[in-house]
Symmetry: C2
Subunit: 424 residues, 2 copies
């Protein structure tokens, strides 16, 4: 793109992504909807009693200047230290890099793009990914480019990645969700993480390791974070407390090398001075005195039951109609319907029956394609809703099948385009 | 500037403003400092008991999904309605324009520059102004340009403004703090506000009316906000709850026309999804059930005593050494030392005696000049500290005077530059 035609205003009006189809919108807004759509925590996930106790402590025992006054842009020093300790103890991240408190990982990505990317720079992403990150890239005139996924390997396709790195000018960064990917639910194996890191070295680019779900491991052993073997300081690690404390708090953090950190702190200061201080102190108190680790373990038990229930329900749908990726943690299951199912008919039927999912094109970097993919969230619905909702999805798939060749012939005759794999 | 040389990264590393001189830094960091520097609320300003009660109510009576879950980017609907009602009742702003909740007015300005300004666009500002706004402009490659103030008229100089508007290409916006200006403490008279609005019409530019202190009127009658007579929807009104609730909450709002609002909501979504929801609900509860208006009246009584004490103390300093602008509200008094006082000597002496102020160059749009001006905050220090600190300032001014012609001759002979008005 030409930088002379670049305008912020025009970019802001033309962000791609989130072209939520009418039927999906309809499903989400019905009153009795079973929603597998948004990535919300369960209602049972909020530790109301503990939060009430800590909040009372703040309002009765703390100096108001500690949590109601203006605060450093870097964040509450106690919380930053506690986060570094947790990263070392829980995730084996022992970097000397500093930690900046941000207003959710959404802000983390916004700030990183602002300080790192010029208009026209390219940010490589998994082909389906968090649409907020894609919009952040676009909002600064940088260009998000999808790297094809190798779903069997639960990783970006390394050959495709190297080809893109060697042929695309101005690649500044890779945005990756290596652990419990959104929307796919994949987790990159260690050897793939190391191979991607080596490619980042070879082509001298930065990796943004977005890890908002990283603590929520339900099955098997954790896989080392990319930041844990980052000897160059080229990995920006992004964490969030939206999923383990509460989304409304807007608390996340970035860990980045000193040179980047200086710019990030300045960008943070310009963006909103500092993140909400009451919640920074609340979280630090929670970690210090109210068994935060026990709370995270509780969440893992709660969500493990839900993902097991969802996988059991999905296993009742024949693989000839639906395949899905078994996640080991996180929030989402990525599904793909078979080629002989008409996506629009399917989305229409579940909308009519008040079941909401996120269709793949919403999470596509380019804003289109992947209509046969959809994302299921399992943390928010109850187990009863999971059973009922996945049952409806199974019935809808069956009804949306184009089994008879005559269907295609009919549709051709009547002027409708034939509905075939990849035809949309 | 050429857009081809524009980079975000380089802008972020080279923001002007805040070149805080060493002696000012020294003064601010001493343990027993009397600080007139930062714009902090008084410790007594935080309604701890009321906040504790409301917080308890949330944690015991509210559905956690209302205040701990993800929220709309526009903000809590109840709070947005209450803000519109307050604007109508308290400030006679009866616009149909919508209200967006933002994370402090700092974020409000960041978002507005992002959606309105292209690199190279010009934003006109009062010549001394809030440095965060100046940095926001610069951080997107736009150019802040100072409009000279007519201090006697408590307004930007209208002739200078029209000259700039008619000769400067690409002026997109005027950033103004018409009420209780930061750092000057001036308030633009109504006829000046109307004249500026007419110029904005004539040259078709947007006005950003930043009004973070607007509710804190201590003397006389309020002056109509520019937004109250904005028939074109060209005024973006920016409000804040940092000064009337607590800075740490990071709660402010923007009121803007529908076309701008659509872009602002998108930019807000990319920036941090939404502002802290707990505090949005806390504030709405405060307004609905806990006499928020009474709290604002309490703050006005508290600060009225402090500003009266500060003006009384300043009146004990001869006008031949110091002149200041008598504010009718807000947080600050703008001071100017006489031409025969050496600013650096003055700042050194008060630093040694642990009194902190903000020198004018820090608030200068260009990052230099105005060394003889300094800003005093009167909300944070106690009346005892005000008396003692202003006393020290008076003594320091006396000591920093260059009364003897021989001083100048000596300094010339010894190779030092003569210290004269405007020589620095």
């Amino acid at each position: 793109m030409s930088t002379t035609t670049f305008t912020f205003a025009s970019r802001m009006a033309h962000l791609t992504g989130s072209p939520l189809r009418e039927n999906a919108k309809r499903a989400m807004t019905a009153k009795d909807t079973i929603s597998f759509a948004y990535g919300y925590p369960a209602t049972e996930a909020f530790p109301m009693d503990t939060l009430r106790k800590i909040s009372n402590k703040l309002y009765t025992e703390y100096d108001p200047n500690v949590f109601l006054q203006y605060a450093p842009s870097e964040g509450y020093a106690v919380l930053r230290r506690l986060i570094k300790e947790r990263l070392a103890n829980n995730a084996d991240i022992r970097s000397d890099d500093d930690v900046l408190i941000v207003s959710g990982s959404t802000q983390g990505m916004d700030l990183v793009v602002k300080v790192l990317c010029d208009p026209g720079d390219v940010v490589l992403c998994e082909d389906q990914t968090f649409s907020g990150a894609v919009k952040a890239v676009q909002s600064y005139g940088a260009v998000p480019m999808p790297v094809p996924m190798d779903l069997d390997a639960q990783s970006v396709d390394l050959d495709a990645l190297e080809h893109m790195l060697s042929t695309t000018p101005n690649v500044k960064m890779m945005y990756l969700i290596p652990t419990f990917q959104n929307p796919l639910g994949t987790s990159m194996p260690l050897e793939k993480r190391k191979a991607v890191y080596e490619l980042a070295r070879k082509y001298d680019i930065v990796i943004f390791e977005d890890d908002p779900y990283g603590e929520l491991l339900y099955f098997g052993d954790p896989i080392a974070k990319m930041k844990s073997f980052d000897t160059d300081g080229r990995v920006i690690y992004s964490g969030s407390f939206s999923k383990v404390l509460a989304p409304s708090t807007r608390l996340g953090f970035l860990m980045a090398n000193d040179e980047l950190m200086r710019k990030l702190v300045l960008a943070k200061q310009v963006a909103d001075s500092h993140s909400n201080y009451y919640w920074q102190v609340m979280l630090a108190e929670f970690m210090l005195h109210y068994d935060f680790e026990g709370h995270v373990e509780y969440l893992k038990r709660l969500y493990r039951e839900r993902v097991k229930a969802m996988m059991a329900a999905l296993d009742r749908i024949p693989q000839t109609m639906l395949r899905y990726i078994r996640p080991t943690g996180g929030y989402f299951i990525g599904c793909r319907m078979a080629d002989d199912i008409d996506p629009d008919t399917f989305y229409d039927i579940i909308a009519d029956r008040h079941v909401a999912v996120i269709p793949g094109d919403v999470m596509s970097v380019t804003g289109h394609g992947y209509e046969r993919d959809f994302r299921l969230n399992f943390t928010r619905p109850s187990i009863e809703e999971i059973d009922r909702g996945i049952g409806i999805i199974g019935e809808a798939l069956e009804q949306a099948r184009i089994t008879e060749p005559s269907d295609i012939e009919n549709s051709c005759r009547s002027g409708r385009e034939p509905v075939l794999a990849g035809a949309r």
